[in-house]
Amino acid sequence: MTKPIHIGVLTAPGSNRDGEAARAITMAGAEAHIVAFGGSLDRFDGVVLPGGFSYGDALGAGMRWALEVGDAVRAVAESGRPVLGICNGFQVLVRSGLLPGAGFGPVDDDAAGHAPARSVTLTANDHGRFVCRWVSLAVEAGNRAGIDELLPSVLACPVAHGEGRLAVRDAATVARLEAGGHVLFRYVEGTNPNGSVGDIAGLCDTSGMVWGLMPHPEDHLSPAQNPFPHRPGREGLALFEAFVSRARAN
């Protein structure tokens, strides 16, 4: 009997895919705890920031939640426990500077010496609209999270977002993301839903402990949920199993 693994599923006012994330974590063999706004994260072996519209996306998707939980989540990652941000959770990780993370990229010269300016962001989709559709996701070989061996080569799941376009300051940033092993997932088979640069759908940080992606693998846990059984692309459960096994390894 292995020791029970406890995963915190964090929420802010407006989070809404916490239920599915908790179900995915449970199916992956851990105990999921949906955590009210605020509260200590010390008791968890890892945390998930689920999708939704924290604070209604006012002031930019994930901005307010990032101000609120950025430091606490950074502490989780720095203590060697994994962090997974999905959709709005991914936006929070990018806005709080956890992705692509410390050590990535120089401080921008224009930023007048204040907080390090980000060189990667998630912004409005290129078509300017919210989009919900199924995509195919390829896990990037050689990513720093080291999970490419644990996942099927292609996952299928839906996206549902208005601000999911990964944008960068300059072309060199993409090259550094790729060279540094920060690319975790890419949209494949022409399914890029938002104009993300390099078809990038997910990132990880330098430590390999912080993972983020826009699509929703938690909405594809069993074959019954898949509208495209003939397309390549398997259930998203494997990602959560990889996450739980990382939490267990700690």
Partner: protein, 957 residues
């Protein structure tokens, strides 16, 4: 105090326009709703006005992190409005909710910048444009005067000294008013009461020996409004039916439409799965042993006409609260929209009416915004285009919820506390109930601005979660939502059987300065009212902290059967419950139904070929693909959507019904549920009775095609009609209601909820009589469903059901310019037989695909089935007594195209019994749809042609 402004603009200017780069925060709420036909080259900037200086560090954080996304945007702080003649600024009117500004205030405070008021403004820049062009764009595209103000150049900061709170209660003199005086008072105060009702009120106060307060009069008007009281559906109606020459065919007295037809049908079919019908905010039916489903469909037509985004946004919010109001956890949304054609020329759009494209864009964005932010899948819907909706579009919003069996409590006790949850009260949405009971006229945008509410889905989400927790902990004895009429209606309803006393002075306000009657009537959104035993208050307040949701005690239930409202020491309302709820005189109305004189039954000079007619029908906006629209709604959240609005390998095929498993129910039974919709306003002009039969059949076959058991289907009725005090409008309404009854009885399907929206007229012209039927069906086994696409290996195709010459009101007749003909009704013989047969086949796992025949008939069904499956079909029909165009395009009810695998053919035939069924063809080896009639090929089109017609130019993978 210094007023600062922070301007945010795009860093990268692409194609001469920075709009794409800067349209992010709040943009879905703020901007696509206004983007229709905006000229290119417009730059949109976000402007934040601050009523004070939070200090350099906070300003730097705001500019570099919080308000601007440094990768794509830049921000600057200005101490003066810029002198910029090429811009228009748009901001909210005072009193309109500015959610983003409230969030900004919270962030400034959290960063240590203190309490500083904020406001948001959008700045549109168009280099080279003159003031006249800018003003025109502001008026027609960028600003909506219902909720917004605008200025050329810069808007002045909106920060004014807080108005002083006042508790003045005015009285209204009724004594001495003659009939004309009473009617004039009703009009002036937007009471929407008729003479009999005004007289009843005058008599009541004469007997009482006092004058009414303003709030009492308003309370009576709200409670007695068409919206709350359904006066027309309770009225005694004298119906005269004439033939098309005007000869009287029959007369009858209808003792209430609701009682005689809708409730009567539910009573007659007496289904044990009905838990609650017509008595509460939503209908409740059994899902499985443990769980029940709640369902409600509402309309939000008039608010959406004036402020499309806000009207549709709060339409979703309102119907979701109806579902919360029966203690259910909302789990899905649906919406049905009726617009005038989007290409209606500006010159044809009357003054006071927004262009259809602008209405559609705003409504669609508003629905998506609210459902998406609540985390509810928006899964079912339809869009109907007809010129008759130009002045009065229709927005139906529906919601489904889940509750443990028996968890809804409805009995407040004297001594229970009256608790308000959720949003604060402001001046928004005053007179919504009475406004919805009046016709729209050109001046409506000016007199009824306060009738439009602004939504805040995040507060609704908190309220929803809190109520679910409170339900599970047994913390309340009754609840309802604040909908039309606000607190007046919610408190008055909850206390109807006991009596209730509340103090408006303690109701949390968004801002000071509201008069007591405004607090009482406000339709500010996202509020629920609960009856809470005092011993549970502390636990409820704990849940308020958990969900960041305000919980306020405003009074208590009494045993005196009176509605007593105070504002501190001032009495605002003191009315006996019996007069409030039973004092409204029953209406006596005249109704006449006379079918239109037969139109010219002339053959068109050149009938189009069947191939070209088919392609034209596929491109008809009502029939054509809505996939792009649907993709702006999150139909996947909660992970339980098994059959989606679009199906097939390329997600190009329109599904009949959708199927969902509630997130809470994966581990329980095998059950799922299906939703289907029936609407066809084109039938109503010819025959509203048969329109109702056909709408019930359409909704019914949608859910059955998806896998629902035809013996476990519940129905909802939503009537949108014109002014019911006019005999012709009412005659059509009575006939449709009779059709609803007869169809429900024939199908053994109870009505469990319904709603009427009447007075849908613009400047005296009614909308097409529009009946929406919603079906909720239980799918016994979530693995035994069927989808609307053909499969190459799926086997032969069959046509189940009988085609009659029923082209009346069809799209084919519209195409060839004919206005006569027979409207489809119910299938001949035992109408249930065909649906039961299909269900047996689906439940036995024999069906590889099924699609129902609806708008455009068999030909359109086959084309959609082929396109969805991305395979050609070879079809051979025999005409029997029908002409080829009748066979192909008649819209007869009760028909399905079914694909059955070869190994299941024998069993399929055995399951059918004597239900009409013919083998009509098989998948083709090429990408062609070929239909032969009696051996002659009449339709030969490629899938590429079908795709181009159905999907338009925007074909997406």
């Amino acid at each position: 105090m210094v007023a600062l402004r922070i301007e945010v603009r795009g860093r990268t200017v692409e194609d001469g326009s920075a709009a794409a780069a800067v349209a992010s925060p709040g943009s879905e709420a703020a901007d696509p709703a206004r983007s229709v036909s905006s000229p290119s080259g417009v730059e949109l900037r976000r402007v934040y006005l601050l009523d004070g200086d939070p200090g350099p560090e906070v300003l730097a954080a705001l500019c570099e992190t919080v308000l601007a996304d440094a990768v794509v945007e830049q921000a600057e702080v200005l101490t003066e409005p810029p002198a910029d003649p090429e811009r228009v600024e748009v901001g909210f009117l005072p009193g309109v909710t500015d959610t983003e500004a409230r969030q900004l205030e919270a962030v400034i405070k959290a960063l240590g910048g203190g309490d500083i008021a904020a406001a948001t403004v959008r700045a549109y820049r168009l280099p080279g444009a003159g003031p006249e062009e800018l003003a025109t764009l502001a008026r027609t595209r960028w600003a909506n005067p219902t909720i917004e103000r605008w200025a050329l150049g810069s808007l002045p900061a909106p920060f004014a000294p807080a108005p002083v709170e006042h508790a003045r209660v005015d009285t209204v003199i009724l004594d001495g008013l003659d009939d004309e005086g009473l009617l004039q008072l009703s009009r002036q105060r937007l009471l929407s009461l008729d003479l009999t009702e005004m007289r009843a009120i005058a008599a009541f106060y004469r007997d009482l020996g006092r004058v009414p307060t303003d709030a009492e009069l308003e309370t009576l008007a709200q409670t007695w409004s068409e919206h709350c009281n359904h006066k027309t559906f309770r009225a005694v109606i004298e119906l005269t039916v004439r033939d098309e020459h005007g000869e009287v065919v029959s007369t009858e007295t209808v003792d209430g439409l609701l009682k005689s037809y809708l409730r009567a049908a539910t009573d007659t079919v007496a289904k044990p799965f009905v838990r609650s019908a017509f008595v509460d905010n939503a209908g409740i039916v059994a899902f499985d042993e443990q769980w029940d489903l709640a369902i409600k469909v509402e309309t939000h037509n008039h608010p959406s006409a004036l402020e499309p985004f806000g009207g549709a946004n709060t339409g979703v919010g309102g119907v979701v609260r109806d579902v919360i109001g029966v203690s259910a956890r909302p789990i899905a949304c649906l919406d049905v929209l009726c617009f005038a054609p989007l290409d209606t020329p500006d010159a044809d759009v009357p003054d006071g009416v927004l262009a259809p494209a602008r209405v559609a864009e705003g409504v669609i964005a508003g629905i998506g915004d609210y459902g998406n932010k609540l985390g509810l899948p928006t899964v079912a819907g339809a869009v109907v285009y007809h010129p008759g909706y130009l002045g009065n579009p229709l927005v139906y919003c529906g919601s489904v919820g889940l509750l443990p069996h028996g968890a809804h409590r409805t009995g407040p006790q004297p001594g229970d506390l009256v608790v308000v949850l959720g949003g604060r009260t402001g001046r928004d949405g005053i007179h919504g109930a009475t406004f919805s009971s009046a016709e729209l006229v050109t001046e409506s945008t000016e007199v009824s601005g306060s009738a439009v509410q602004i939504g805040d889905p995040i507060t609704e989400k908190a309220t929803m979660e809190l109520v679910c927790n409170a339900r599970d902990a047994g913390l309340y004895r009754a609840l309802t939502d604040c909908g039309a009429g606000g607190l007046s209606s919610a408190v008055g309803e909850l206390g109807a059987s006991t009596g209730v006393r509340v103090d408006l002075a303690v109701v949390p306000r968004k801002y000071p300065g509201l008069a007591p009657w405004e607090v009482w009537l406000s339709e500010a959104q996202e509020r629920m009212v609960l009856a809470v035993p005092p011993e549970h208050l502390e636990a409820l307040e704990g849940l308020g902290d958990r969900w960041v949701c305000e919980v306020t005690v405003i009074g208590a239930f009494t045993d005196d059967h009176r509605l007593r409202v105070d504002h501190g020491d001032t009495v605002v309302v003191d009315l006996p419950m019996d007069f409030l709820h039973d004092g409204c005189p029953r209406r006596h109305l005249e109704a006449v139904w006379q079918p239109p004189a037969p139109g010219p039954a002339v053959e068109p000079a050149a009938r189009p070929t069947a191939s070209s007619a088919l392609l034209a029908l596929l491109a008809q906006p009502t029939v054509a693909s809505k996939a792009d629209l649907v993709s702006t709604y999150d139909h996947e959240v909660r992970g339980g959507t098994l059959i989606r609005p679009w199906c097939g390998p390329r997600a190009e095929g329109p599904s009949d019904g959708v199927v969902l498993v509630p997130l809470e129910c994966w581990e329980g039974s095998r059950a799922a549920f299906a939703l289907g919709l029936g609407i066809n306003p084109r039938y109503g002009r010819l025959d509203p009775y048969r329109m109702a039969l056909a709408a019930v059949d359409e909704a019914f076959r949608n859910v059955v095609a998806a896998g629902a058991d035809p013996d476990q289907v519940s129905l909802l009725d939503n009537f949108c009609w014109g002014n019911p005090t006019l005999a012709d409008r009412l005659g059509s309404l009575v006939r449709a209601t009779q059709g609803c009854h007869d169809a429900a009885v024939a199908y053994g399907a109870p009505f469990v909820s319904g709603k009427d929206s009447l007075y849908n007229e613009f400047d005296g012209v009614p909308i097409p009589a529009t009946l929406l039927i919603t079906a909720l069906g239980i799918v016994p086994d979530r693995d035994r469903t069927a989808q609307a696409y053909a499969r190459a290996e799926g086997g032969d195709l069959y046509l189940l059901g009988v085609t009659e010459a029923e082209l009346g009101g069809s799209f084919y007749h519209e195409l060839i310019g004919r206005s006569d003909g027979t409207v489809p009704g119910l299938p001949v013989g035992d109408p249930l037989a065909v649906h039961r047969a299909l269900h047996r086949a689906i439940a036995a796992g024999l069906v590889s695909g099924v699609h129902d025949c609806s708008e455009g008939g068999l030909a359109v069904a086959l084309a959609e089935f082929a396109l969805a499956g991305d395979i050609g079909l070879a079809i051979e029909l025999s005409s029997d007594a029908l002409a080829a165009h009748e066979l192909l395009f008649s819209e007869s009810s009760g028909r399905y195209v079914v694909q059955v695998a070869p190994e299941g053919r024998t069993e399929f035939a055995a399951l059918l019994g004597d239900v009409a069924c013919r083998r009509i063809g098989s998948p083709a080896t090429d990408q062609q749809l070929r239909i032969a009639v009696d051996g002659e090929v009449v339709v030969a089109v490629s899938l590429a042609e079908v795709r181009a017609a159905f999907c338009g130019q925007e074909v997406t993978s």
